[in-house]
Symmetry: C2
Subunit: 567 residues, 2 copies
């Protein structure tokens, strides 16, 4: 079969799954505005709108109390997900039969036991395609992998299932899983619902676009360079790149499965911060380290039980937010800087939040280290998987292989880069210790100052920074990974959140700016206010390694202080 | 300078440090028994004997209360360590000047502040040579590396120093740090104080022999295949191979610094279990993850505050001990099996301890995976470091390079082995889940059974197993790593402890045994009761990954039940 025929076959299968949804998925009008986020409201019933626009925590309550049945909820999400698929091409297949059966089971369970089956009883969860589901295709975006069938559910899915959820939709991802956009030769291009000339981001861009249209309230993405965060940011969502080794990854499919130089992670996207929290807690409470021994035995710290923020002398919570607005390599576009400044301004009046500058520390050096580690075999596995079907290389596949100078490393070269990586991580840690304290920074001769514990009270708790050098870029322009890959190298937990602001005509070009380098110039040239109209302005909150819960608690605190809503 | 001249120079320096100790280190008699552990008592003063034979917890109390001064204590240990060096060749240099200055400072601190400086106030700690000390040689056992000077103290040393300890002795290690014995071309061979025809073990064999002679009560070793545990076992000591990423390693020196396929660890040896505990707690309480970002943010769980063992319906602690007496590859010698059986017998009457069989799971497959990962560059770095000075390869260096079939791997080969490693770890975890429960084992198709959490109450807590296929072997015979390297591959915490028994004439050869394979045959042929006279019989207690504290608490509980002393 030619690669084109394989793609046609898969698209046809997708159409069949759409057709099996009841009530039928409405057909979108031929003429659509650039911003399609308002379309579902015009085409779906009030009841479907009301269910699908509820934040996950509200759904959880309604489902647990029986106010809503699992069947009602899943029907609404199937319909809206199908519509989203037709609008922005974010779906690989819907699972109406499995989902409806599961919902029926859950409704019966609740009726019989008078209590929910678990903390996610009836909650619909969408899943990026390369996370395996028993008996379903597992192609990871390669045409030649179509026909590979998952022998079992991924471990994460088993745990979410035990917690009570319903899987109902699988979502698109890019060729080779290594774009900050989403396009492959099986399903084509996924676009941004806020502005369909822009990308939904990637590689979890199917999730991003689907949640952006509220065809899902909770989804699963994966991230080795920004792949949860870019889609979360581009579509105005919450998304967590957890510290590695906190969530189980067994059962996903990708190239380079034995590579551990840069650890890929799996994590949630949601329409609310509460959704991210309940996802993490539901999984980690099940002690996933019993199944996947690479995971760390770190229970989930529940901020409702124990505050992770410092307490001041008066017993009030205290938070020190470092601001890293510009990584010193590529200057962010005006909307992003407006987003940061607006948030700082809103928090300023809160006496329990201290905002300090957090200077970048050699972010260009981080890219020098991480880029050859991405494809340590010279991208041989990706090339083989692409060439096996004769499908063409997507432009961003070519770009990233070239950008990372992919070549097969020798063991001594690999070890040298690994040493560089560890040295850089130690220096960054020292840098973090030194900001806002009197401890020596990484340029000091004394690399380890054992006074750090005593200085903890002054240290920065979290760092506020962009998710990329702009809002969602136009298609095939997402070329600078630094704002996200930086934290993959360091393995710091990162939370993406929407500011509630959108790019607009007011975000003027900075006239007379002299770009620092090629990449900065590319980014500068890319910016025109009219290109980015309506793109959500999202930001990233970064914590130290293992402090996932603290990042979430800090964000809750900041949103409270800034009087922002978190759903 | 020829390599021989370099060695002579280093030995001369060592003699000078011996000569600087006051009061003078006594000269041992020319004629010595095979077992030299009784010699110190004949040559040292009663006061020195009393101090050096106190367990660390007693010393800590006496030092903190001022009952003993730091100066008294360090003088006693310097003298006894020097004597140990002369008896079994376990020292690379003593540090009388630094140590006496430090002791003086601590004594003044206590006098002035009326309280100890930290939890290890005045405690002498000996250190394996390749753990860097500012301004001192850092040769890691290679002649060509003599003259390399540590630019700073290793992070672990900084933290122990802040806790109040005194560094006073540096100890021997083998060429390339990759023997389960201790011999190099700088200082020669370190032997076992219980029987000087046997090895002290390795690679932390200088520590083992020094603590075995009570020339130290707490020391620092390192372990990638058994290097803390073999010396601890061979010399009747307590020794912990912690889970990786719990203690900081920055500042040590070795080949293959960028290799992360099998993680080397650092950890304590002590004359008491309490010593191991206080060492771990004193370091981890200082939040070492602030300095070394590879470390996991896991606070030390204090068993005096929270029991980690299960509670039965009656509120009593419960423990399930799995017994893995024979790994199915190489059968242990009769003294080891006697040790295990004696301990089981002694614990049997305790109703709160359940003893079950823990079958080995493919331990030969573990060696197939780990051995090529040890020298993934084909041992190129080791060969270069040895050849640079012209020193000869020690026999066990040749042996291990051959045994592991060292060759430079390609990236695809490395990834395949890494995948095999992770698969094996997941299977072993499933195996552990299944022993003594009704959960499916690793041979089942269902690799992840999410019912494990519900079965935790029945699961094995710790595994009791040998540390090697026999007690300390004769020199140049320590060739089977399986009983220790198994747990390096899995990264499980392991605690070595003495049974209080010693090998003797009563441990008869098992007549008519048919060895299973070459290695089993080698080990079987090696055994004659008269060869091993007086060798301590030690055992290993293994826990699941991250459960270091639980292993210690379980051992305390078992020793209590068996009415054994833990110091």
């Amino acid at each position: 079969m030619s690669w084109e025929d394989t793609a046609t076959m898969m698209q046809k299968h997708r159409e069949e799954t759409y057709a099996a949804v009841e009530p039928a998925i409405p057909e979108p009008p031929k003429e659509l505005p650039l911003n399609v986020t308002g379309v579902p409201k015009q085409l779906l019933s009030e009841n479907v709108i009301s269910i699908t626009e509820s934040p996950p925590q509200t759904l959880i309550e309604s489902l647990a109390s029986g106010k809503l049945t699992s069947t009602d909820v899943i029907k609404a999400f199937l319909q809206r997900a199908g519509l989203a698929g037709k609008l922005v091409n974010c779906i690989t297949e819907l699972l109406p039969q499995r989902a409806m059966e599961r919902a029926k089971y859950l409704d019966e369970y609740l009726a019989e036991n008078k209590k929910p089956i678990g903390p996610l009883h009836g909650v619909p969860i969408s899943v990026k395609e390369h996370v395996g589901m028993k008996g379903l295709d597992l192609n990871a975006g390669f045409v030649s992998w179509v026909g590979r069938v998952a022998p079992d559910d991924a471990t994460l899915l088993k745990l979410l299932w035990k917690a009570g959820c319903i899987f109902y939709a699988r979502t698109t991802e890019p060729q080779a899983l290594m774009h900050l956009e989403t396009s492959n030769n099986i399903y084509g291009v996924t676009v941004n619902p806020y502005n369909t000339k822009l990308t939904s981001g990637g590689s979890s861009g199917g999730e991003g676009a689907l949640l952006g249209l509220k065809g899902s309230c909770m989804g699963i993405g994966t991230d080795i360079g920004g792949s949860i965060r870019s889609p979360a940011a581009n579509n105005g969502l919450y998304g967590l790149r957890p510290t590695a080794f906190r969530l189980p990854t067994a059962g996903w499919s990708a190239t380079m499965m034995g590579a551990e130089h840069i650890i890929p992670v799996i994590g949630p996207l949601s329409t609310s911060l509460e959704g991210v929290k309940v996802f993490m807690k539901s999984v980690i409470d099940q002690q996933p380290w019993l199944y996947e021994p690479s995971l760390v035995q770190l229970p989930w710290k529940d901020s409702s039980k124990e505050t992770l923020l410092r307490k001041g002398y008066d017993g009030r919570r205290k938070l020190c937010v470092g601001v890293l607005a510009d990584d010193g390599v590529v200057k962010p576009h005006p909307p992003i800087l407006r987003g940061i400044n607006t948030l700082i301004e809103k928090m300023k009046s809160n006496p329990d939040i201290e905002v300090v500058e957090f200077p970048p520390y050699k972010h260009d050096e981080a890219w020098r280290i991480i880029s050859p580690l991405y494809f340590a075999d010279g991208a041989a596995e990706e090339k083989a998987a692409i060439e096996a079907s004769g499908e063409p290389f997507r432009p961003l596949t070519n770009f990233i292989i070239k950008e990372t100078k992919a070549k097969e490393l020798t063991i001594p070269e690999l070890w040298q880069l690994t040493k560089d990586r560890e040295d850089y991580k130690a220096e960054y840690s020292q840098h973090w210790n030194s900001v806002n304290t009197t401890l020596p920074g990484p340029d000091s001769e004394e690399l380890v100052s054992i006074e750090a514990v005593d200085a903890r009270d002054k240290m920065v708790d979290v760092v506020l920074t962009p998710t990329g050098p702009g809002c969602a870029p136009p298609l095939e322009c997402a070329k600078y990974w630094g704002y996200t890959s930086q934290w993959n190298l360091l393995d710091y937990p990162c939370m993406i959140f929407p500011t509630g602001l959108y790019a607009g005509e007011e975000d003027k070009v900075e006239e007379g700016y002299t770009p620092r380098n090629e990449r900065d110039n590319y980014n500068y040239e890319l910016y025109k206010p009219e290109t980015f109209i309506d793109a959500p302005i999202s930001l990233q909150l970064v914590g130290r390694r293992w402090e996932d819960e603290k990042v979430i608690e800090a964000l809750e605190f900041m949103m409270e202080a800034a009087k922002m809503e978190s759903s």
